[in-house]
């Protein structure tokens, strides 16, 4: 027993011993070297800064009619990005419009991950009839086209930000569930889990404290991607006119100016570009996390 718990023998030459880092520091080291991922992080930082400071730098009410309709961008100094079909300031919408989009995206992703992780963990851990039942349940949600399902929910219930969060969360959790199920199925058979069970750990402890930490890396990546797709989802719903009409968002700007794209390209192009950059930032970070958290990649 004492032989087992003794520290490993010191390497012959301690001068060349590799630096030992904690897993998260090691991941950060790999992440930092990834230029694309760092670019994504910078992009996200810029978007967040704009959302925090934007309305202070450009204090114009986004719903207010402040100028001539269809003013092109870069012509009028008071309307740098032009105005929409009602004469509302595009820049004013841009600087506040990300708040709703990002808040809904993050909250919906949190719901997606909670449902997906719980369903997937239970199915993968218990197997048998629990797995059978939960997998069938997952499949029902998988065959219903998620955007149509969310459209129905937003139409039947009131189109507030809260409904949007719930609707997006409810229709997008299946891929996280599949991933979590596969991870739990794989990990529960490993020796360290068997040993924990052998010394008397209960199911609850085995699931959340023994297996979950090791299942986390792919789930973190999936949560990042879920945030990106939830943002796209919110934008899509707003584009269809299914968002809170009293909250300015990038999607709402695109949706309300949709009929006038040929007369005012700027009114849809700028908010769409903002959504694109945000999602690109999230995707790049997710991609970088995938490489950084996947131990096999370190060897390459």
């Amino acid at each position: 027993m004492s032989a087992l718990s003794a520290p490993p023998p010191a390497p012959a030459s301690s001068a060349v011993a590799p630096e030992v880092l904690s897993p998260s520091r090691e991941a950060w080291r790999v992440f930092r070297r990834n230029k694309a991922a760092m670019f994504g992080l910078a992009l996200l930082g810029a978007v967040l800064a704009l959302m925090a400071l934007g309305p202070l730098l450009w204090p114009v009410a986004p719903f207010e009619i402040v100028g001539r309709p269809f003013t092109p961008p870069f012509e009028d100094a008071t309307l740098p990005l032009g105005s929409d079909y009602l004469g509302r300031d595009i820049l004013a919408g841009m600087v506040v419009g990300g708040r709703a989009t990002l808040a809904v995206g993050l909250a919906a992703a949190a719901i997606t991950v909670s449902i997906g992780l719980t369903v997937g963990a239970l199915a993968g851990y218990f197997g048998g009839w629990v797995d059978e039942t939960l997998s069938r349940f997952t499949e029902i949600f998988q065959v219903m086209p998620s955007l149509l399902f969310a459209m129905v929910l937003m139409t039947l219930f009131d189109p507030s930000l809260g409904t949007a969060v719930l609707a997006i969360g409810m229709v997008t959790w299946t891929s996280t569930a599949r991933l979590a199920r596969a991870e739990f199925m794989r990990l529960k058979q490993l020796d360290y889990v068997r040993s924990a069970r052998a010394i008397g750990a209960r199911d609850r402890r085995l699931i959340w404290q023994t297996i979950l930490p090791n299942a986390l890396p792919p789930i973190i990546v999936s949560a990042t991607l879920a945030t990106g797709s939830a943002i796209l989802f919110e934008a899509g719903l707003s584009f269809l006119g299914l968002s809170d009409p009293n909250v300015m968002s990038w999607g709402l700007m695109i949706g309300s100016n949709r009929k006038y794209v040929l007369d005012a390209w700027w009114a849809v192009t700028f908010p769409g570009f903002a959504i694109f950059l945000t999602v690109l930032g999230v995707s790049l970070v997710g991609d970088g996390l995938n490489d950084a958290l996947n131990p096999k990649m370190h060897l390459r």
Binding site: I140, V143, P145, G228, A235, F239, G241, L242, L262, V279
Partner: protein, 324 residues
């Protein structure tokens, strides 16, 4: 298991799924706030109490919930999804009239995304550390991050204003008369932009996916054997490796069919493509619940059918599965 037994088992399973989707639809109708009779009356321009009672009797809303459920499922199985308030037509007829347009759009987009995505992925996997390969990785992330409807709008602006060589709305040009050949060409001409818009996201994903799986497959022993026995590199890559590398693409494509229909809703709205998506959009604007729920139901059935076909495609690509 014989192919027939597999198909029979899958069909029974699909029937179960269809039943489950119907149940969810029914629950949604009854969980929504407000009296359905009032909603129907609202569409007809307001009503007094006797009219409301009349509506309740006509739509069976005065019966107990379990009985309503049984009626709903029974009718749906016979293909009766109710009547559209907006068009005053059976929902099933409306949907069947719009279905071909959506299927054409979705299948064209899916097949071209698989074809182009796989080609690009295979090409990028040949020189994994080259600039071109890196560009594929970056471009695929860009394609994945663009909101579908925004891409569509940009194309509408580009081809509607800057270089007007492509139709940007609808499926037919009413000014063009002619036989089936001219009509087909006209529809294909209208199909280019919507199908391309819808395909971009999936091209991006499939090129990434097939690049990664090709890299894995090309490193395996049987490929080394194929090369060692002197097979042409072209054969090794396109015949031996690609067959295995296609598996994840087919799996994901099957799983994503639902997302593809979701994307089609946005694309159809942008390009006024007369399919299920525009029908759903119009029924939202008109508060036409039976039609909206009918579209949700029918498109779920479409996904179930697509999953069945994926299963069969899988067996065709992988002979090992046929033995089972």
């Amino acid at each position: 298991m014989s192919i027939l037994a597999v198909v029979a088992k899958r069909l029974a399973y699909a029937a179960g799924l269809i039943f489950a989707v119907l149940t969810i639809n029914f629950v949604l109708i009854h969980a929504a706030p407000g009296d359905p009779a009032m909603v129907i009356a609202g569409e007809m321009g307001g009503a007094d109490k006797s009219t409301l009672d009349q509506i309740r009797r006509t739509y069976g809303l005065d019966r107990p919930i379990p009985e309503q459920y049984a009626t709903y499922v029974g009718r749906a199985i016979r293909g009766d999804l109710g009547t559209s308030y907006l068009y005053n037509q059976p929902v099933t007829d409306l949907i069947l009239a719009r279905l071909p347009a959506t299927v054409l759009l979705v299948v064209t987009a899916l097949l071209s995304a698989i074809a182009v995505g796989t080609m690009v992925g295979v090409w990028a996997s040949r020189r994994p550390h080259s600039v071109g390969s890196g560009a594929v990785t970056v471009l695929s992330l860009v394609g994945y991050s663009m909101p579908t409807f925004w891409t569509g709008i940009l194309l509408v602006i580009l081809f509607g204003k800057v270089i007007p060589i492509m139709p940007i709305a609808g499926m037919r040009d009413v000014r063009i008369y002619g036989g089936w050949f001219v009509t087909t060409l006209d529809v294909l001409h209208h199909l280019v932009l919507p199908a391309f818009t819808l395909a971009i996201v999936y091209m991006a994903q499939y090129s990434r996916l097939s690049r990664a799986s090709m890299l894995e497959v090309l490193g395996s022993d049987y490929i080394r054997t194929a090369r060692a026995k002197g097979l042409a590199e072209r054969l090794v890559v396109w015949k031996h490796a690609l067959r295995n590398a296609l598996m994840p693409v087919v799996t994901i494509a099957g799983l994503q069919f639902g997302n593809l229909i979701s994307g089609a809703v946005l694309v159809e709205t942008v390009f006024s493509w007369p399919g299920l998506g525009t029908l759903a959009y119009d029924s939202i604007l008109g508060r036409d619940y039976p039609t909206l729920l009918g579209v949700l139901f029918f498109s779920s059935v479409l996904v179930i059918v697509a999953n069945l076909l994926t299963d069969l495609a899988y067996r065709w690509i992988d002979p090992r599965l046929r033995a089972r």
